[in-house]
Symmetry: C2
Subunit: 130 residues, 2 copies
DNA sequence: CCTTGACCTTCCCCTAACTGGAACCCTTAT
DNA sequence: ATAAGGGTTCCAGTTAGGGGAAGGTCAAGG
């Protein structure tokens, strides 16, 4: 399989697939002409990574998850630990964003948004010094 | 004022202040000895930027907001537009994270987290190929 | 006078996870 | 012969700074 087909089937851009090879996630064979020649296992691995990335796992998380995936004698607790850590980080990001959102929404709501210069948003920013 | 004091009073790391000078947000005078010599206006500007950054505005947003701040004849609508755009982006990020969170929390909840290898999380990732 | 420690300076590399683009090769069809 | 549409490598850029080296400056203490 050439990279284009793998891209199509995995949903990952070719660029990303090359990058994943560079960082050691896959090691596709090469054809005579130098083209990468992927097999179904490569494709499967890439899809796994793509799915994990879409759930917020970092590249290093993915590396750990792939290892656990390959290890038939893994403990599900090890997988769960990685996932729970990711969950905590996602929650932290959501909390940060929601705090931002609340303040910002408040300011936006207070701004007339007309042609006059008076603006509670700028006033807030300008009053930033404790 | 030396950079250390500005850092303390603005709450921004010295590194960040130097970076903000580099990208043109401030242009502090220099003392005889080559040290940056900040005045109250610099400090105020830095605090403004710090506050804006903490509300999720990008560096380029900050640049625009500073310009509007300085423009006595601005329309508050222009400020509001920038803020609303930022709000939309924050909302989009929150939505993305919440979708991730929902799926991930579901998987985490389904995983026994014990010493056995069976794991719904890995099963999900392994079934990623559409 | 010398040293010590806390400042300050510039400079360059590093981060995450790719993305874009240039320059070039391979294959197939017209 | 050439044009389109693959593929290849390599280099640079993205965000918003952070880390750390090598070195200049300043005030206090011995």
């Amino acid at each position: 399989m050439n990279i284009g087909e793998v891209a199509k089937r995995s949903g990952l851009p070719s660029k990303t697939i090359r990058y994943y090879e560079e960082i050691g996630f896959i090691t596709p064979r090469r054809s005579e002409n130098g083209y990468r020649d992927f097999d179904e296992k490569d494709l499967h691995r890439l899809a796994f990574i793509g799915r994990a990335r879409s759930l917020g796992f970092t590249i290093e998380n993915c590396r750990a998850l792939l290892e656990l995936y390959a290890d038939q004698s893994r403990a599900s607790a090890d997988v769960k630990r990685v996932a729970e850590e990711n969950l905590r980080e996602i929650d932290a990001k959501i909390a940060d964003l929601q705090a931002m959102r609340a303040t910002l929404a408040h300011l936006v709501g207070a701004c007339a948004g007309d042609s006059r210069p008076d603006c509670p948003i700028l006033e807030d920013l300008g009053r930033a010094l404790g």
